[in-house]
Amino acid sequence: MMLSTTGSTAPPDSPLLDEVRSTSAATEPRRPRTRVAVRFGGLAALVAVLALMPSTLSATSLLNVQSAIGLALFACATNLLVGYGGLVSFGQAAFYGIGAYTIALMWLHWQTSFWVGFIAAPVVGAAAALLVGLVALRTRRLYFALLTLAFSQLFYVIVLQQTGFTGGANGVFGAILPSFLVDPNHAYYFTLAVAVLALLALWKITRSPFGMTLRAIRENRERAEALGVNVFAHQLMAFVLAGLFCALAGTLFVVHDQSANPDLLAWTESGIPIFMSVIGGMYLFLGPALGALIYEQGRDVVLASFSDWQLAFGVMLLVIVLFAPQGVLGLLAGGRDAVWRRWRTLRR
């Protein structure tokens, strides 16, 4: 199923920042080792800074960063489809919500521990994604976006209407978390650890022969087909993996909010990871994560001073899409490449 036809894969020289669609990457020679070291160092420093947050930030700010980390995973998982697969799913909130509800409902109805739900949630998310993907992937492009949106709305109204089982509009809340995760610092470290491990796994997936084939399909579906790639199987696999990681991100929502509510599955929620990807840069692996951080922190700043968050966010989206389609991280990477080239020519 994960048949690769792209031959040998490029050496993984740029950890977590591999350019998915860069006009310069194809012509550039292999990057020097010093640069790789700089990037590894930068990422290690980023994780170290995030790990030090509990001792420096106030409780509220820490919760905000924790929320942003969970959303970063949600956005990067969605970007496996949108950025890498070229599959614009407007229904990933369904799997995010399924992740949260799996824990909450198992706790509510069968009194299972959080940890059982935490293991079950990604499995349920992947299973739901398999069923949705089997139908939705029969359509293409815009129709795929609309059909995934319809599926997520279907889940949404079912959760909203089946009040007896799901708690309806009120959602599920209560002492879902085990005593270990009630401590805010523990909850934060748990979220950070899960997100970092999941992002590493996602990165490995995007760099694998499977990930390369997925990009090849995005670039030229007919050619990939002609080369013998089973396009449907690859896209279905991507959809299932995205559903799995989105559900995992949903479990982090429970760790943050100690609840699950129907709004998690609404179609407007499905837009959020897509916008995070667009803002941060959907053709860089960590772009969506940066978008999540900008979204969460930006909302706090705007709400504190200006109140119309949607207005400010909408304007920011418009400006980025129209004038900087590579996103904020894309802009930064472009600037860094320019500086790097200049430094190298000066050194010669």
């Binding site: 949108v82 614009v88 407007f90 139908v135 029969r138 359509t139 293409r140 492009r141 815009l142 129709y143 976006a145 609309l146 059909l147 949106l149 319809a150 599926f151 709305q153 279907l154 109204v157 079912i158 909203l160 209407q161 089946q162 009040t163 179609w267 407007t268 837009g271 897509i274 916008f275 667009v278 119309d308 968050w309 949607q310 207005l311 966010f313 909408g314 304007v315 989206l317 418009l318 899409v321 129209l322 389609p325």
Partner: protein
């Protein structure tokens, strides 16, 4: 259940279908000519409804007809501005960019509506001419609902005449087929795009205005109508106005059947209908497979 009741139920479904059709017709017309799903179409609908409440309120009540004429025109104006400033930049971009841009417009317009009209739900009384009800056998049915159905039929006929029998109509149909050929044969395609979007916005505003006495008007109307409108348009086949009419009737009948027979599952019905149709015919009932 008696025959009278069946007729009333059917007419209620058709009332729901009437504003759905007008909204979906605008959406599908814009998609047909420009290949763009305009999520801000839902905002246009909500603005149509809110503007009616504003005009009726400002005129001291009773100016419903004035509001019904002015609100859609004002919304068409908003649509023209949006097209000239933003949308015309994204016709050639991929559908992700188009969805994100129109969603950004949706968010901006939603917050502006909150600024103008607040979070409070509003309502409008139908004009005195249409405020009573007619008796059908032993039951009665509101006159305004009949007016809404009639108005939707008139809009449908007007669109048919526009598309089939006017120069603007054949240009729009040609734009659906081959915009480049149209441009080389002397049509001002950017002007045509602006016109089509203005007509689409006009229809959205008209749908919102027509439906304003039928429902409570509050923020969030934009998000609910856009989903319903695109479901109708997608089931009928994006780009087909006739398809939008068929889709509106199907969805409304499904909805009514759901309310009658499976109340707690009723909201799921329209999504199931769309999923089934798209799974069997990915381009909708009357749509053409995408090139």
């Amino acid at each position: 259940m008696t025959l009278d009741n069946d007729i009333i139920t059917f007419l209620s479904a058709m009332t729901e279908a009437s504003s759905l059709f007008v909204a979906a017709a605008g959406l599908t017309l814009v998609f047909g000519a420009m290949r763009i799903i305009n999520l801000a179409h839902g905002s246009f609908y909500m603005y149509g409804a809110f503007l009616v409440t504003a005009i009726v309120g400002a005129a001291g009540g009773g100016r419903f007809w004035l509001a019904l004429a002015l609100a859609p025109l004002a919304v068409a104006g908003i649509g023209t501005v949006v097209e000239l400033t933003v949308l015309r930049r994204v016709y050639r971009r991929d559908h992700l960019v188009q969805l994100v841009v129109t969603y950004a417009l949706f968010l901006i317009l939603a917050d502006l509506a909150l600024r103008f009209w607040g979070t409070q739900a509003r309502s409008v009384a139908p004009p005195s001419l249409l405020s009573g009800s007619v008796s059908i056998g032993s039951s009665s049915f509101p006159v305004y609902d009949l007016f809404a159905i009639g108005a939707a039929v008139v809009v449908g006929l007007a669109l048919w005449v526009l598309l089939q029998h006017t120069a603007l109509g054949w240009r729009i149909r040609a734009a659906v087929e081959d915009p480049e050929m149209l441009a080389t044969s002397g049509t001002n395609v950017p002007l045509l795009s602006t016109t089509v979007l203005a007509i689409g916005a006009l229809l959205a505003g008209l749908a919102g205005a027509l439906a304003s006495p039928l429902q409570s008007i509050s923020p969030g109307l934009d998000a609910s109508i856009i989903v319903q409108a695109f479901i109708v348009a997608v089931i009928g086949g994006l780009g087909s106005v006739t398809g939008a009419a068929i889709g509106a009737v199907i969805i409304s009948l499904f909805d009514t059947a759901g309310v009658l027979w499976a109340h707690s599952w009723e909201p799921a019905f329209i999504y199931l209908a769309m999923i089934v149709v798209l799974a069997l015919r990915p381009w909708g009932l009357l749509g053409a497979p995408e090139r």
